[in-house]
Amino acid sequence: MGPGHSALTRGRALALGTVPVAFLALFFAYPLATILERGLTSDGGLSLPEGTTALVWFTTWQAAASTLLTLVAGLPLAWAIGRFRFRGRSLARALVLVPFVLPTVVVATAFLDLLPADLQRGVPAILAAHVFFNVAVVTRIVGGAWATVDARSEEAAAVLGAGPLRRAREVTLPRLAPALSAASALTFLFCFTSFGVILILGGPGRATVETEIYNRAARLFDLQAAAALSILQLLAVAVVLTVASVLEARAGDGGALADEGDVLRRPTGGRRVAVAGILAIAAVVLVLPLAVLVGHSLGSWHLLFEETPALLVEPWQAAVYSVAFASVAAAIALVVGGIAAITLARRPPGVLDGFVLLPLGASAVMLGFGFIITFDAAPLDFRSSWWLVPVAQSLVAAPFVVRIVTPALRSIDPRLREAAATLGASPGRSRREVDLPLVSRAFGIAAGFAFAIALGEFGATVFVARAEQPTLPVAIFRFLGRPGAESQGTAAALAVVLAGITVCAALAAERLGDGRGRGF
């Protein structure tokens, strides 16, 4: 490979890298800066409202505690799913995604049905709900990494006399470190900016920075305080991300990827019991709230196909709009996030990796407000365009794609690429035939996540939602807000549809990723 050749590639990579940067600048930084500027200049400067210290303290510790508990709950499941082959494995992987996309109020109502009265409110309920919602993040990201850690290294260590603890500490853990760090950072962010869970399960008066921003911006119309708190939240998130990426960089890369086929074993002996136990507990916890929803929906399914005064379309049609919007959003997220990942993977892990997650630290209501005052005049007059819905959704989904795909790209064994080059393959060809199949599984996971996130996104979407094309979360909220058993039943039926689509999409994305992998 000549020097001129490599310079060309570098130039092309640089050009490629401008795509995600431009996307973020236009649809994230610009509207957010506009609304913050409006807030801070309208009525006098940057000052934080009273009680901010307590607010930040509660927000931080509940997020840290939630993350820790989610790791504790998610790691056994990640181990079972990442390490072993068993019947229904794909279904289990798809099922963990369901809580992640269901609207909070739907899950919370199911929780209220299941929990005894004195456990329904307060901090324990918040932590439990955060674990329930985010266990998917740990299970899928860490489980995905576990499935590609070459089991032969562990076996070699065992042969050399390393005990199970030492094997875990010195062989497995370092390889899982990037995935663990990514999953922890994502979970922390979601709990830090949690909204519905805090409102419903926290009980009145319980607030986090995010709920207070919403309260100030959307209810009190106190944009000054909302802007100040938004900046504080972004700064806090930036600090967390920096710390996480420094830790991650120190942990080093995850080592060589193995093909899943070589890693998965049938569980035997004591492990069989452990895997069965973990799966049984997970099944009960994940399926029980769903069963409650199915129970609520019985007798209301025919209503999905009847005209209703609540919507301009028949309720089932919301599923079609949801799938359409989420497909577009997932496509945008995969393209933008994929390009960002390719660019990032060319350099060693660093702070930049972490900052990719920054959009998740922005308050949805402020971003939504930013959209409607920024994109309101030519040539950027598109605050009423339909595609702002999937763009808003992709802002949440794209960071996931980057975080899932980048480590996979980095961990491609450079020797494979060198071997391909030695055999005369051009860089393009080696990327196509060596890298692509190996990372296709990561893309499969990312696509499933991106689609699921877009499907469930509600915050920023409502600002640009149109009554003629309601999405499933919008339709669910509409029916939940109407009295009468029929309306509640219709909401439950729509929630079951949302869960069903999520499972199907996750299964399909996985199959797509695996199919390509097998081809190699």
């Binding site: 209220l112 009145p204 008066g205 959307a218 005209e307 605050r383 149109r466 009554a467 029929e486």
Partner: protein, 356 residues
Amino acid sequence: MTLSDKRLSPLAVALVLLAAACGGSSGGGGTAATGSQVVLVTHDSFAIPKQVKAAFERQTGYRLRILQGGDAGEALNRALLTKGNPQGDVIFGIDNNLLSRAVGAGLLDPYTAKGLDRVDARYELDPTHELTPIDHADVCLNVDRRWFASHGVAAPTTLEDLVKPAYHKLLVVENPATSTPGLAFMLATIARFGESGWQGYWKQLRENGVLVVDGWEEAYTARFSGAGGSKGTRPIVVSYATSPPAEVIYAKKRPTTAPTASVAASCFRQVELAGVLRGATNADGARALIDFMLGERFQAALPESMFVLPVRNRTPLPDAFRRYAVSPAHPLELPAAAIGRNRDRWIDEWARVTLH
């Protein structure tokens, strides 16, 4: 329109969306030719039957587009944020509790709607005509009739009843900081007990085990025992005067009488209004829409589409609403200006007394 093209339309839209996405993001503006359409900005409880929407479009020649999201307060704040260059032509859903924030702010253009002469004067809350009344639905306590019958307890009939030991741990209300009916109920207690007495009343409610939740959805569908299909345990809830008929019409099996009832003496006036946004792209269309919303057809559809009552005199009501919706001649009320001045302070005081 035949059944088959009705089924097809969302699929077709989906395909167009996908095609547009594949074709690149710069495929021309998504906005149709403005001028031929009217855009309504509203809250997420707004609903209009398809046939009624079609009737407006046929009568006026304008296409009606609806942008909705958030509750009434949020919709109003979005409108205030885009003052001068509004997202739409008409805003609907501003109620008497928000009125003072909207009127006189340069947000709206005055318009005296056709048909306003058919509206009872008590609903005309804005003499400057920036806002036109469209519907009303008082916020009232609802009681679970079956619960009270089977427990041999008389259902409460006044606000004072709620602090009696017989009603210990029976009431669920919404947080006035986060819920429209919750705010209205707090205002009802202020109207009833006065500036210096309402805090004491809430202290007693608290001692009597009132449950406060953040939203109507949780209070009514999950905590209230009288809602159809609910596993709730509390037989008294803050909801609307129109909730009892909804429990009849939207029950899975239609009951012979309403399972719930409103407590008339607890009702607080709630009127929803609409206005022409200043700077509207289609001001003529905006005025036509407000006229239409005061017209017979839209007014008659209000009860079953939004569970609110028409303001136009002699509009026929569906049977269940005639029988089970209360409409007290003199509900509790407070002047909009007083609400505007004191709302935030009252909410803070309420939180101190009730939550901390």
